[in-house]
């Protein structure tokens, strides 16, 4: 078969289009403010994550590590039920009813029951107003794509300064549900990515399917970590100068690793989470312990950058999906008040 486009003088056509594009680009170059529809895009994504029901397979990769999980998310308007099962490594299933979270390690017969209110959980963006995100990022729709068999709009969030990474979002065209989220290096390479591999919207679930396994913990060693809400100031610390764009969204005293359980008394830390509406930074503060704390260092894995440093009798660990310079700024601004 002969190609139908063979006789079209494409070069000439492109030349014309290029000229037309140049004209319209010049016309558009006037007002360089954010497009008026930036806020509704983010609100739509939030709304979809909060109110839709879906099930599918999630894939995550960062720093050379890959993992996937099967997710079932059901929302009946007021209540949220969720089942998340890790598909790699040790078997682990997490059941969630609103902020009640039960994590089961079936093989080890271990369970962790806790109240948890994550700042953000894919496919939801952090709980922040869209306006706040747009103070730190510039949102542009860059195209259309297909993810997990669904048509998606591709949005680019470019940071307004060097303290954060660009992010690319794929939002389901019909519902707004976030289908994929990439964190990019300034040069555009993908540092980490969360995405649906397959997804079905409108999944129907009986709440009992989630609630029952949360109660049936016979034969499990049940750990109930009790994080204690606190404030940085109350713990004797302060950020001398705020890091631009970041606000404190959570601060608690908690065991670092509740699930490990059997290695003596849990390591208590004060964890403060700062958010710029899209990226999070955790600041861990604990008593210095020569046996447990390695030498000061700076590390990265995927988009996560970490600084560990000793400050007199204290050990500071700052980690976040932000550039190293931002992490270092947190470390340098952290001051002991008493």
């Amino acid at each position: 078969m002969r190609g139908v486009q063979a006789r079209v003088p494409l070069g000439r056509w492109c030349q014309t289009v290029a000229a037309a594009l140049a004209c319209s680009a010049a016309a558009l170059a006037g007002p360089a403010s954010a497009p008026a529809d930036a806020e509704p895009w983010l609100q739509r994504i939030q709304q979809a994550a909060a109110s839709s029901s879906y099930q599918g397979t999630l894939a995550f990769h960062a720093g050379g590590a890959y993992s996937s999980s099967r997710v079932l998310h059901y929302c009946d308007g007021r209540q949220t039920y969720e089942r998340l099962e890790l598909l790699d490594g040790e078997n682990r299933v997490q059941y969630r009813h609103n902020d009640q979270v039960t994590t089961l390690w079936p093989a080890a017969r271990r369970a962790v029951v806790e109240h948890r209110d994550p700042v953000a959980q894919f496919p939801a963006l952090p709980v922040a107003t869209a306006a706040r995100v747009l103070e730190n990022y510039d949102l542009q729709k860059v195209g259309q794509d297909r993810v997990a068999g669904l048509e998606a709009d591709v949005l680019m969030l470019k940071p307004r300064d060097r303290l954060r990474f660009p992010q690319r979002l794929w939002a389901h065209r019909e519902s707004g549900l976030l289908l994929r989220n990439d964190v990019l290096a300034p040069g555009g390479e993908v540092l980490e990515s969360s995405a649906f591999v397959d997804v079905r919207l409108g999944a129907k679930v009986q709440p009992e399917q989630i609630l029952k396994p949360m109660k049936q913990l016979d034969g499990f060693k049940v750990l109930r970590p009790q994080p204690e809400r606190t404030q940085l100031e109350a713990e004797g610390w302060v950020l001398a100068k705020p890091v631009p764009g970041f606000q404190l969204v959570h601060c608690s005293k908690r065991p670092l690793d509740a699930a490990s359980g059997d290695n003596g008394p849990p390591q208590q830390v004060v964890q403060s989470v700062f958010s710029d509406g899209l990226a999070q930074v955790s600041v861990f503060i604990e008593r210095y312990d020569a046996a447990r704390h390695p030498k000061a260092m700076r590390t990265s894995a995927g988009a996560s950058h970490t600084v560990m440093a000793r400050r007199d009798d204290w050990w500071l660990t700052v980690v976040g999906e932000v550039p190293m310079a931002t992490v270092q700024q947190f470390v340098s601004q952290l001051e002991r008040k008493r």
């Binding site: 190609g3 486009q5 063979a6 003088p9 494409l10 070069g11 000439r12 056509w13 492109c14 030349q15 594009l21 995550f60 960062a62 720093g63 050379g64 590590a65 996937s68 998340l84 890790l86 790699d88 490594g89 040790e90 682990r92 997490q94 994590t103 948890r116 994550p118 700042v119 953000a120 959980q121 894919f122 195209g143 259309q144 470019k158 940071p159 060097r162 660009p166 290096a185 300034p186 040069g187 555009g188 390479e189 993908v190 969360s194 670092l256 490990s260 964890q271 861990f284 390695p294 260092m297 590390t299 894995a301 995927g302 996560s304 970490t306 660990t317 980690v319 976040g320 550039p323 190293m324």
Partner: protein, 202 residues
């Protein structure tokens, strides 16, 4: 020499005709020379092809900065390796046999033009393969290479004297605690394979 490339319009006309396969061998050589010497000509050529790509399929549409980055990297590699880039039929999802393109010069008339239209798809497929490899290696690469920078975004911070990849269960515990609270992800998956890049020096 480049008698027909004096005015911008004439230059564009020459490129446009090259794209449509309407040039004689001599004219094509002249157009290629222009392409080599004139940055504006390369920019126009790229724009025409991008437009052509978009016309053919939305999937071929991409951010110009990315194309430019690929071209830059590719040019660097080609400079070291004086082998002409010949599209590999196996890489291209096309049904017509591809022409042998040496140094971008295509001789022949309209019959060839059809094939020439297909060539960018094959080259694009080649870029994709290169891109895949680059992404994989850069994830593990301790010091990110200098990148063409997106508007408004800075480069990665200075990374100190050296960087070594390590596995660290201790670091993983902090990362997991951070992720659990900040991103709600189920921590630990794949952490036994996670490499932390440790930056040494000041």
């Amino acid at each position: 020499m480049l008698n027909r490339s004096d005015s911008p319009d004439a230059r564009r006309q020459l490129l446009s005709s090259l794209m449509d396969g309407e040039l004689t061998a001599d004219d094509a050589a002249e157009a290629c020379q222009l392409w080599r010497q004139d940055a504006q000509a390369r920019s126009d050529w790229h724009a025409y092809h991008l437009i052509g790509d978009v016309l053919r399929s939305d999937d071929l549409a991409s951010a110009p900065a990315r194309d430019a980055a690929f071209l830059q990297a590719l040019r660097q590699r080609l400079a070291d390796e004086p082998v002409p880039l010949a599209p590999q039929p196996a890489l291209a999802p096309v049904h017509t046999p591809l022409p042998q393109v040496a140094n971008g010069v295509v001789s022949g008339g309209r019959r060839r033009a059809r094939h020439w239209l297909m060539a960018p798809a094959a080259v694009a497929a080649g870029f994709m393969a290169v891109a895949a490899v680059m992404v994989v290696t850069r994830v593990m690469s301790p010091v990110p290479e200098a990148q063409p920078v997106l508007a408004g975004a800075g480069s990665l911070p200075a990374t100190g004297a050296s960087a070594v990849p390590v596995r660290s269960p201790q670091l993983d515990r902090y990362l997991a605690a951070h992720r659990t609270l900040a991103s709600g992800t189920l921590p630990g998956a794949g952490s036994e394979y996670r490499m932390h890049i440790v930056f040494e020096g000041p």
